[in-house]
Symmetry: C2
C-alpha cells in the first residue's frame, strides 16, 4: 500500500478568546501543546470547530504565525484555508504553505447555495493555480450540513486527477457513512490520497477502508481516547474501544447544546480556566445551568481522566 499523504488523529483546534474577543495567543499555544502531548498526531487550526469563519483572514494568519513562532512545529499543522472568495482562500493557503504547514483544509465558497460542480472545480482550481507551489497539500472539506455546499465524490476525483499530489485528500464531516465508502473508492485511484472522517465514530471503519484517520472536534477534549482507538484499530477489542468512545460522544451530543460551545465548556473545566467558555458571535456561550448539565452528563459517561 502506498504511503498516505497524512495519517493520524487531528484536533480541529478550539480557539480561545479574550474578553474583547481577540484570540488569546498564550492560551492558544498552551492548548496546542496540550493536545499534542495528549495524543493528537497534529492539529487543524481554523476548522469549523475552531470558529474559523468567525475570524478575519488577517486574524487567522497572525494566530498561525504566533503559535509557530512560539514553538509549535509547522509540520504538525494543517490550516483551514477556505473562504467565501477564492482571493481570500488563495491568501490563506499561500500563507500556510509558505509557513511550512503540513497541509490546508479547504472549504468550498460557502455563500451561494446550489452552485454547479463546474463552479466548485473552478474555485478550487483557482486556488491551486494561483498558489502554484509544489509544497501545497490540499484537503477538500465536505461538511454540507454546515457549509450548504456538498463536494461530490465525482468532483473530488476530478480535482485529484487535475492536481496530482497537491490534491492530497478529503475530510468528510457529513457523518454519512455511505459517502465515506464512496470516497474510499476514489482514493484507491490516487496513490497517497487520504480520507479523513470528521467524527471519530467512523474512525475504525475509515481505517479499515484505507483512510488516514480522523479530524474530530471531540479530539479537543478526548485526545487520549481517540488516540488509543487509532493505535489499536487492529486489536481484537477494537470495536469495544470504538463503542467506549462513542458512548462519551453520545453523552455530549445528547445534551443538545451547540457542539462548539459545549467543547469549550469542557476545556474550561479540564483546564480550570473559565475564560475558555467564551465563543465569538454568532455563537453564544452556554448558560450556567447548561454547563452544569453537560459536565454532569460527561462525568456519568466517563470518569474524568485528564
Amino acid at each position: 500500500m502506498p504511503e498516505l499523504s497524512l495519517r493520524g488523529v487531528f484536533a480541529p483546534t478550539l480557539t480561545p478568546v479574550n474578553a474583547d474577543l481577540t484570540i488569546d495567543i498564550p492560551a492558544y499555544f498552551e492548548f496546542c501543546n496540550r493536545l499534542l502531548a495528549g495524543g493528537c498526531h497534529g492539529l487543524v487550526l481554523f476548522g469549523t470547530n475552531s470558529e474559523a469563519t468567525s475570524f478575519s483572514a488577517g486574524e487567522r494568519m497572525a494566530a498561525v504565525d504566533a503559535v509557530i513562532e512560539a514553538g509549535i512545529a509547522p509540520e504538525k499543522l494543517v490550516v483551514g484555508s477556505g473562504a467565501a472568495s477564492f482571493t481570500e482562500a488563495v491568501e490563506l493557503t499561500r500563507h500556510a504553505v509558505q509557513a511550512g504547514c503540513r497541509g490546508v483544509l479547504t472549504l468550498p465558497p460557502f455563500y451561494y447555495p446550489n452552485v454547479s460542480a463546474e463552479g466548485l472545480f473552478r474555485s478550487f482550481a483557482a486556488i491551486c493555480d494561483r498558489v502554484n507551489d509544489d509544497r501545497l497539500r490540499m484537503y477538500f472539506y465536505h461538511i454540507p450540513q454546515v457549509s450548504g455546499v456538498p463536494l461530490s465524490p465525482a468532483l473530488v476525483a476530478r480535482l485529484a486527477e487535475a492536481f496530482p499530489g497537491q490534491a492530497a485528500g478529503v475530510k468528510d464531516s457529513s457523518g454519512d457513512l455511505e459517502n465515506l465508502l464512496r470516497l474510499h473508492e476514489v482514493a484507491q485511484r490516487f496513490p497517497g490520497f487520504a480520507i479523513f472522517c470528521g467524527t471519530e465514530a467512523h474512525l475504525l471503519q475509515n481505517l479499515r477502508g484505507g483512510g488516514g484517520g480522523c479530524i474530530s472536534g471531540m479530539a479537543n477534549v478526548l485526545p487520549h481516547v481517540i488516540r488509543d482507538l487509532y493505535d489499536n484499530w487492529q486489536a481484537p477489542d477494537a470495536d469495544e474501544r470504538q463503542n467506549r468512545a462513542n458512548g462519551i460522544r453520545s453523552a455530549i451530543v445528547a445534551s443538545g447544546h451547540n457542539m462548539i460551545a459545549s467543547l469549550k465548556v469542557i476545556v474550561a473545566d479540564q483546564t480550570g480556566r473559565p475564560a475558555w467558555s467564551r465563543v465569538r458571535p454568532p455563537l453564544v456561550e452556554l448558560t450556567g445551568a447548561e454547563r452544569t448539565q453537560l459536565l454532569a452528563a460527561l462525568r456519568a459517561a466517563q470518569p474524568p481522566a485528564v
Copy 2:
C-alpha cells in the same frame, strides 16, 4: 409621515471582471454612471447580485474607493458590508462610513446555520458598537434562501430599538410577501426605518405599505422600467405598470439560468461588451446557446429600449 432614511430604486450593482478575474474598474465606473443616468436613485455596491462574497474585503474596499475617486458621489452609494466574521464586517462597515457612503447593507454571518437570534443580535451589535460612528446607517439584509440565515422581524425590531437611527432599515429579499408586511409593522414603531424589497415585483405593495423602495437585481438591466413604476406608484395605471415589469422579470426567470450570470449576459448585450458575461467562481458564465435563448426570451417580453 416621518421622512424615511432612504427612498428610491437601487441597483445591487453587477461587478465587471477582467480576464484574470480582478475588477474592471473603468467598466465598473462606467456602469455606475449608466445606472444612475438610467433611473436609479442610488447603487448598492457589493450586494448578492454583485457577487460580493466572491471578492475579498480588500478588493471590495479598493473598488469602492476607486469609483468614488472617479466621480461617483458617495451619498449615492450603499455598500454591502456583511461577512462571515464580524471583524471583517467591522472593517467593511467602517470603511464605507468613513468614505461618506449613504449606508451599508449588512448580511448576518453566513457560515453556521441554525444560529440563535441572540447570536445574530450580538453579531450586528458588535459591528455597530465597534464602528461607533453616528453617521452609520445600517440596513439589515434578509435573504435566507441564499445566506441560510433568516433575520426575524422580532430580531429586526430588537436591533432598531438598540441602535436608534443607526439601525436604518431592512432589505427583504426573501420574496415572501407576508414577511414584508410584518416588517412594515416593525417600521411603524421606528420613525425613519426604511423597508426595501429585493424584488421589484413587490415594489407597489412595499410603497403602499410605507416602505422605501426596492434594491432589485433587475434594476441592473431595466432601471428605467423600475424607476417609471416607482415614480407612478400612485397613478391610476400603477398596477398595469407593475404587471409590465413583472412580465419582463418572468421572461428572465423562466429561462432558468443563474440570475447573476443571466443579468451579466444582458448587460453584455446592452453595452456591446462581451466581457461583461464573465463571473467569478463559484458561478459559471452562461453557454452560447443559453445566452441566445435568454436574450431571445427577453426581446420577446420587451422590445429593446436601452
